[in-house]
């Protein structure tokens, strides 16, 4: 019996243990709620995480392409990217899968399986790198919102002070009045 079959057999146990470890990265008073409520509308954090872990494991055993894996990873990484974790902690939950599988398959680890497992673990490493890309993408997205706020506000202030005008023929939507005085060739 190969590794994938073994994982398939114990899939629900693996996901359960993995979820338990992942939830442990939250302080206890938070994790109690995240793991208790089953209704996905009432507990989006817990439900997103548990569904995501299930999907990631399936993606790994199905050996999906990186692009597909990124899609599968997105919901859980996106969530943890706004949950006040240090970057390392935010994506740490991916690595937990290694130990969970080793623990659960302890008795089945023949030499052959061990070999397969090492390859499988390197795939988990690859998943963690994709997770890091997504994490950074999320953070950049958030910084962009903040930056846009400031940009818009500055623009409105300049507009209010009548320092801006529209110059459609030069292709710029809004630029300062004095830049294109005399066709832009004169400083005055």
């Amino acid at each position: 019996m190969g590794l994938i079959t073994l994982i398939e057999e114990k899939r629900s146990k693996i996901v359960k243990e993995w979820f338990k470890l992942t939830i442990k990265t939250y302080p206890k008073e938070k994790s109690d709620f995240f793991k208790k409520k089953k209704d996905s509308m009432a507990n989006p954090v817990g439900n997103t995480l548990s569904k995501s872990l299930e999907d990631i494991l399936k993606g790994l055993t199905d050996d999906v392409e990186n692009n597909e894996m990124a899609k599968i990873l997105d919901p859980s990484v996106r969530l943890r990217a706004v949950q006040e974790f240090a970057p390392s902690s935010a994506v740490s939950y991916i690595f937990f899968l290694k130990n969970v599988i080793r623990d659960i398959l302890k008795k089945d680890l023949t030499k052959e399986i061990e070999k397969e497992l090492l390859i499988f673990e390197s795939k988990i490493d690859r998943v963690s790198l994709i997770a890091f890309d997504i994490y950074m993408g999320c953070r950049e997205q958030i910084f962009t919102y903040k930056a846009n706020h400031v940009k818009e506000r500055t623009l409105k202030l300049l507009e209010k002070a009548d320092l801006l005008c529209e110059v459609p023929e030069v292709g710029a939507e809004i630029i300062p009045h004095n830049v294109y005085l005399n066709g832009g060739f004169d400083d005055k």
């Binding site: 302080p27 509308m41 954090v45 937990f96 958030i142 409105k156």
Partner: protein, 538 residues
């Protein structure tokens, strides 16, 4: 493999909870964890006490010398003035019904975001200062002494509540946690502790009549600009009037609709609707704000900012007031305005001049919500609508907290939506109507420095949108609140990309077939209508 280090050891996560009591866990004031404090000048501009420059990140908040006395007396004054506050302080039995209903708790898991514990932040001081058992038994009876740490905790957590009142729907005693937050914020304001995103609009509104400080001539220019766009889209020329005495109706909407997309498209929708039905209305450049950030500071300030609605209606001699799409504006109008600045006996009980419908629900305030007004027009077949112009949209509706829970307006917007578009899908029952989830940025928290918190708080709402996005292909989230229109776009972009945000009357404007209009090729955003691609460039 030798000495495999467990990942959880590798990243040094300590899963053990703090062993201390909640009272001893200090709030986090590292950057990004708090809204910026208000500037001294905006407090001074409206005569608020103890104005100074300070920061929540500082160890010393420069509290006035007699700060404990100020809080004690302020608390006492409010307990005497508002029986509701006293009842809310006394009657909680800690049943826990509210605990997991707050969007901030659901998103953050932070126990102090449980409404019961948030209220306990204030209650513990109430017990200590005003109850015998608290005075005698202290911490044992859930009481604690007022220290600077308590004030810091108040500032942190009462600015993590959006006053949405979802929790109070589930409270068997009807405790309104929003009012507890309001009281706590009032007390904080007595110490000069306020946030910039609230005080700046308050001070602007006090001076120029709207949150953004738009001056009369600019306000007029903006509306005229909308009219130019409408003419380009529909071929119909509009001539709205400003400050016109003797008009039948005064129209007031949040200034966000004049200033920020996508609210601007709703404003265009309002103008088109009024033109189409021939409403005798006027806009005011003085009462140019429907919103009222005073609500988030103190009842006195709310009253002051609200007063201009009636004063302007009286000055212009209109019969009644029509109000635009806004959230907290309607909590102020529906629940406080009548007693606070009324009775407005110089106005008449609102009657629609088009349908003759008498708005009994607004008999006291003399102010009608535009969704009710439009629903009535549609019900009486007064509008010629072509919903297929919104066929490129699959729409859902976000019940903005205050119109839904604060005034019970649940069916009118849905009725309008069902008539102006062909694809409407509601989100799951537990997340709409009275149970609606807040956008996560209401009550003055729509400021960018706490974006992470806003994204966490908005998760339950976004999660429900995601559900209909995946199930029905929903790509448009409609709402009737200016704050929603400002904050839902980034929320959607982050959690449910592919879903845009619009106001109700943007969709009305799209569907409305106006008299004398040219064949429409663009929607109000000047984007090609389905089947008209490429035509609008000519």
């Amino acid at each position: 493999m030798v000495d495999v280090v467990k990942p959880e050891e590798m990243i040094k996560i300590d899963p053990t909870p703090p062993s201390t009591n909640w009272m001893d866990v200090p709030p986090d004031f590292s950057p990004g964890k708090f809204p910026y404090p208000s500037q001294a000048k905006s407090l001074e501009a409206v005569g608020f006490p103890n104005a100074r420059e300070w920061s929540p990140a500082d160890e010393d908040w420069k509290l006035p010398e007699n700060w404990q006395q100020i809080i004690h007396e302020g608390f006492k004054e409010r307990l005497d003035k508002y029986r509701s506050l006293k009842v809310f302080m006394d009657s909680c039995v800690r049943c826990g019904a509210c605990a997991d209903k707050c969007h901030f708790f659901i998103g953050t898991g932070d126990p102090k975001n449980m409404p019961v514990l948030r209220a306990e932040l204030l209650r513990s001081i109430y017990r200590n200062d005003f109850t015998t058992i608290g005075k005698m038994l202290g911490k044992f009876a859930g009481a604690r002494k007022l220290t600077p740490a308590v004030i810091k905790e108040w500032f942190s957590y009462f600015y993590q509540c959006t006053e949405c009142r979802r929790c109070s729907v589930f409270c068997p005693y009807g405790i309104d946690t929003a009012e507890i937050t309001m009281m706590a914020r009032e007390l904080l304001h007595l110490l000069g502790l306020s946030i910039h995103w609230i005080m700046d609009p308050v001070s602007n509104c006090n001076r120029t009549g709207n949150h953004l400080g738009i001056q009369p001539q600019n306000f007029k220019e903006i509306i005229e600009f909308f009219c130019e766009d409408i003419e380009e889209i529909t071929g119909v020329t509009l001539n709205p009037s400003f400050n016109r005495k003797g008009a039948e109706v005064l129209f007031i909407t949040p200034s966000g609709d004049a200033f920020a997309d996508p609210g601007t498209y709703s404003f265009m929708g309002y103008l088109m609707l009024f033109e189409h039905i021939g409403l005798d209305y006027t806009l005011s450049t003085y009462a140019s704000e429907g919103g009222n950030f005073g609500l988030f500071t103190s009842s006195e300030m709310m009253k002051r900012l609200n007063a201009k609605m009636y004063r302007e209606a009286e000055r212009l001699g209109v019969k009644w007031i029509l109000g635009g799409e806004c959230g907290h504006m309607w909590r102020v109008i529906n629940q406080y305005m009548g007693t606070m600045n009324g009775p407005a006996n110089f106005l008449e009980a609102p009657v629609s001049p088009i349908t003759g419908t008498k708005f009994e629900n607004a008999r006291d305030t003399k102010m009608v919500h535009i969704a009710e007004f439009t629903a009535d027009l549609i019900k009486n077949n007064k509008l010629n609508l072509d919903p297929s112009r919104n066929d490129h949209l699959k729409v859902t509706y976000h019940d903005s907290c205050n119109p839904a829970r604060g005034m019970g307006m649940l069916d009118e917007p849905r009725f309008v939506l069902e008539n102006v578009c062909n694809n409407f899908h509601d989100m799951p029952e537990s997340t709409i109507r009275e149970n609606t989830f807040c956008c996560g940025s209401g009550s003055g928290l729509n400021t960018e420095e706490i974006m992470d918190l806003r994204l966490r708080g908005g998760l339950p709402r976004a999660n429900a949108v995601k559900y209909v996005h995946e199930k029905h292909g929903v790509n448009m989230l409609s709402c009737v609140c200016a704050i929603d229109r400002a904050v839902l776009p980034p929320l959607m972009d982050y959690w449910v990309p592919g879903v845009d945000v619009c106001g109700l009357h943007e969709l009305v404007g799209n569907a409305l077939v106006m008299e004398g209009e040219i064949e429409r090729e663009m929607d109000l955003r000047m984007e090609d209508l389905p089947g008209k691609e490429g035509d609008s460039d000519e």
